[in-house]
Amino acid sequence: MTKSPFQLAMQRLLRNRVAVLGGALLALIAFSCVVLPILLELDPNLTQPALRNQPPSARFLFGTDGLGRDLVARVLVGGRTSLLVGLAATAVSVLVGVAYGAVAGFYGGKIDEAMMRLVDFMYGLPYMFLVILIMLMFSETARGDMLPVFLALGLVQWLTMARIVRGQVLALRRQEFVLAAELLGISDARLLIRHVLPNVFGVIMVYATLMVPSVIILESFLSFLGLGVALSWGQLVSDGIAVINPIRSYWWILLWPSSFLGITLISLNFLGDGLRDALDPKGKT
């Protein structure tokens, strides 16, 4: 049975044990965060002042925080936010970045110059400042609404994706098989969508996978600053650091969210590296 390039790449990926480990850990964490709170009927917001600051025990596996809330519930539910934001914001940046970069790279010349000037300009803007501004603006109108978060974070990342896609498309545009298709009379739209983009797909997947951790960290940072909209790992880390003191160390309040965050980020990186090796064994990306 003949295998398509994509199938061969997946075969190579599965042989990469580190990448598979990363993928498995990711799946495990995602599953836990999404399903377990429902199955176990966990409530992250139930305050039980009598049980505050309890170290890990049989009843509270991760312990409780300053308001007596179950940390297992908080970490898992908080994970939903972090992961969701990571995925959604990356999706936004991929969609916008790919569309923008593909058009610039495909047409080249003055169109490309103009479009990339805009990207260069936007790169120069003080991003965190703008993101914080956006978050502040929206936090007044819609508390708990995730959309502004996705947009704000996606807006930061699309520039990188646009640059990467533009570079790949620019190079592929001059490849003989694309020229041959053009010489056969194939329309520009079909050339871009059927011939060029499928061959860029691999690179997009790699960079998207590696972008998710950046977004999660960004979101964590925002939460850490108090600008988050919902419970997330970043906020939990912030809570954990707030109670660190030399006299009574409530280490578990910091440990669990940071571990989950760290493992997720490392797993995403392993997976991303594995994807890169699988899709491009000769190291062209």
């Binding site: 003949t2 398509s4 003989e176 098989f177 694309v178 041959a180 010489l183 009379g185």
Partner: protein, 315 residues
């Protein structure tokens, strides 16, 4: 051959482009005709302009001046949409078999696309047309569900040729199509091209640096040097009695399987860059027969038996 108007007419074609502050005169005043069913070889060393010329003819490079006509209609200097009207008649096969096929398409998809686009097949019969095409280039039709990475260089070139033939062109530009292949595979492809020419009455504009291949496949030869044609002749006349000193030097430089000891001195000097062509006759700095006129004036193409040559000695 009956007296038809030529299939392809090229008149004073020039392709210049700017690079690092210089004007690169890649193609600098080229004229020739190509008749139906004929193979014209374009031969030369690096910088001679043969590839730039081919790409200009299909519209991949912009033309600076001059024109080319296919069946009486101008094919140069057109917008991309206007050029699309000629996509059927003029096809190009590339040198690199490993870059010429979309790695994500099966062979069937690669061949079906032009067939369907130009209505050479309908959705109901495209499969059998693909099989037919594969058969015509000597490949097993059962292979059509495979991907390019499963094929060798020679097989990929066959597939590229099949793709070009799918739209039933009258002229095929072959840009160094066998240069990346082993000798034995090259022989297979050359034989294939010759037989296709016989069955379909195709014309070829065959670009190569290999004079042995030229002698085998071409009816006429155009030798190019730094953007210009320096000799244009019937193949056998060119090899038996080359008129231009560059052609003579080129033929003498080719290593041959021969019992005789090789005693001739190689042609001195470097191949000039088309960004800085020598004054007067472009070959004069390396020419053993150059005289006082050569650096000063630029020779035209003068008639010689069965062709023309750009040398004052042939005037």
């Amino acid at each position: 051959m009956t007296e038809h108007a030529p299939l392809l007419e090229v008149r004073d074609l020039r392709v210049h482009f700017a690079s690092e502050g210089n004007v690169v005169r890649a193609v600098d005043g080229v004229d020739f005709d190509l008749r139906a069913g004929e193979t014209l070889a374009l031969v030369g060393e690096s910088g001679c302009g043969k590839s730039s010329l081919a790409r200009a003819l299909v519209g991949l490079n912009p033309i600076t001046s001059g024109a080319a006509q296919l069946n009486g209609r101008t094919i140069t200097g057109l917008t991309r949409t206007a050029a699309r009207a000629f996509r059927r008649e003029l096809q190009l096969v590339f040198q690199d078999p490993y870059a010429s096929l979309n790695p994500r398409f099966t062979i069937a998809q690669t061949l079906a696309e032009p067939l369907l686009l130009h209505r050479k097949a309908s959705r109901s019969n495209v499969d059998s047309k693909v099989s037919e095409l594969l058969g015509q280039v000597g490949l097993d039709p059962e292979l059509r569900a495979r991907y390019p990475h499963e094929f060798s260089g020679g097989q990929r070139q066959r597939i590229s040729i099949a793709r070009a033939l799918a739209v039933e062109p009258s002229l095929l530009l072959c840009d160094e199509v066998t240069s990346a292949l082993d000798v034995s595979i090259q022989a297979q492809i050359l034989e294939l091209l010759r037989s296709i020419q016989r069955t379909r009455g195709l014309s070829y504009l065959f670009i190569t640096h290999d004079l042995g291949v030229v002698r085998y496949i071409a009816h006429r030869v155009a030798v190019m040097y730094v953007g210009q044609i320096v000799e244009l002749r019937d193949t056998e006349s060119l090899f038996e009695s080359p008129a231009h000193p560059y052609t003579q030097a080129l033929l003498a430089s080719i290593p041959r399987v021969s019992r005789a000891a090789q005693t001739r001195a190689p042609l001195p000097g470097e191949v000039p860059s088309p960004a800085r062509p020598p004054s007067g006759c472009r070959f004069h700095p390396r020419c053993a027969l150059a005289f006082d006129r050569c650096p000063k004036e630029h020779p035209d193409l003068y008639p010689v038996p069965n062709g023309s040559s750009r040398c004052f000695l042939n005037e």
